[in-house]
Symmetry: C2
Subunit: 223 residues, 2 copies
Amino acid sequence: MLVDGLFGGTITASKLLKHGDFGIGTAEGLNGELIILDGVAYQALADGTVKVLKGDEMLPFANVNVSNFEGRVVLPGLKMDDVDATLAKELSYQNTFVAIKISGTFKAVQTRVVKEQQRPYPTLSETASKQQVFDAKNIKGTVVGYYTPALFQGAGVGGMHLHFIDAQHQFGGHLLDFESDKVKLSWQLLDGLDLNLPIQDSEFIKHKPSDMGIIRQSISESE
Amino acid sequence: MLVDGLFGGTITASKLLKHGDFGIGTAEGLNGELIILDGVAYQALADGTVKVLKGDEMLPFANVNVSNFEGRVVLPGLKMDDVDATLAKELSYQNTFVAIKISGTFKAVQTRVVKEQQRPYPTLSETASKQQVFDAKNIKGTVVGYYTPALFQGAGVGGMHLHFIDAQHQFGGHLLDFESDKVKLSWQLLDGLDLNLPIQDSEFIKHKPSDMGIIRQSISESE
């Protein structure tokens, strides 16, 4: 429902972290990009700073899992567009969810960070002009994200959905592009999805969704 | 993946029943329509008979929940096409999953039952000509099924997906149409979906899905 502008938070960060120590998301009002790594939730903000969430912040959307990476490969260089094909050499995964972690040194990283919106909220695509884009070069850090099968787009973002946080926890966001130096690509095949919907939230449960075709198209375009 | 013809079973009936006492599904090879009611799994077969599953049967797809119906309304008459609108008078539900039970006497019920397929399996739409259609009049029984938001079509069948079993457990199937006498409509709003994918099954994990647009269209047509 983020696509339709339902940016109100429906779960606290501390409650979310009970379900996993690794993940991605956003905060109330579409306030930045979340990166959850080693049990800490970092919030990359549109002003270029990164905060650690205290726990009482409300979140409208997030994906988390309990990390238990089962496979890894060290690569001399990796481009964002090649993550799919690189992973496919290692395992069959396209019909399920996969947690993906890439850590090491990056030659170039480009992120975008969504900007906090005020009520009445616009739609997700209307916020695109407010997004900030950031570039970094020769930076150590970690890519945190998920692969979601196209069939389950809507429950998550179909395909690869990757965020980034640097080793100093001072630079991060939703990944638009990267090119790495030597990195370690780790993966964890997940056997499903435990989808939790905020049915007690009247805005959520009473919302009349926009046409699904439009929603799916908007999600693809925003990627 | 049923749409693409992956009819091989991936979970036993007894294991499925640990996750719920109410639900619907099908069996290995697309062998009939399952109705799970009061913890018993009934299998309506294409020859018009109904069996009780023993527990060791393998199932390729099912939806179950632990029943705890929170609301009910007694109606003098209900048509299948009116279930959506009738429920909407009672609660807001369109953005989440709902378990639906309708019990009482039915003036007319029309079901279809899919027929067991042999390997190599055809696609779901290719099996349509093999389906059997059954009609019953003035029959006591129960409608068992779910509402799935269109956004989650793929994880389940979008919209209403209803099966039927008569009170004698001798007539059942996937509902094509019904018109009731006096019935009780019960509902249970579910706060999400615990999706379990058979990632250990090599047929599942290695399958290259057909185009999503085609899949979604096929599902809609088969309804």
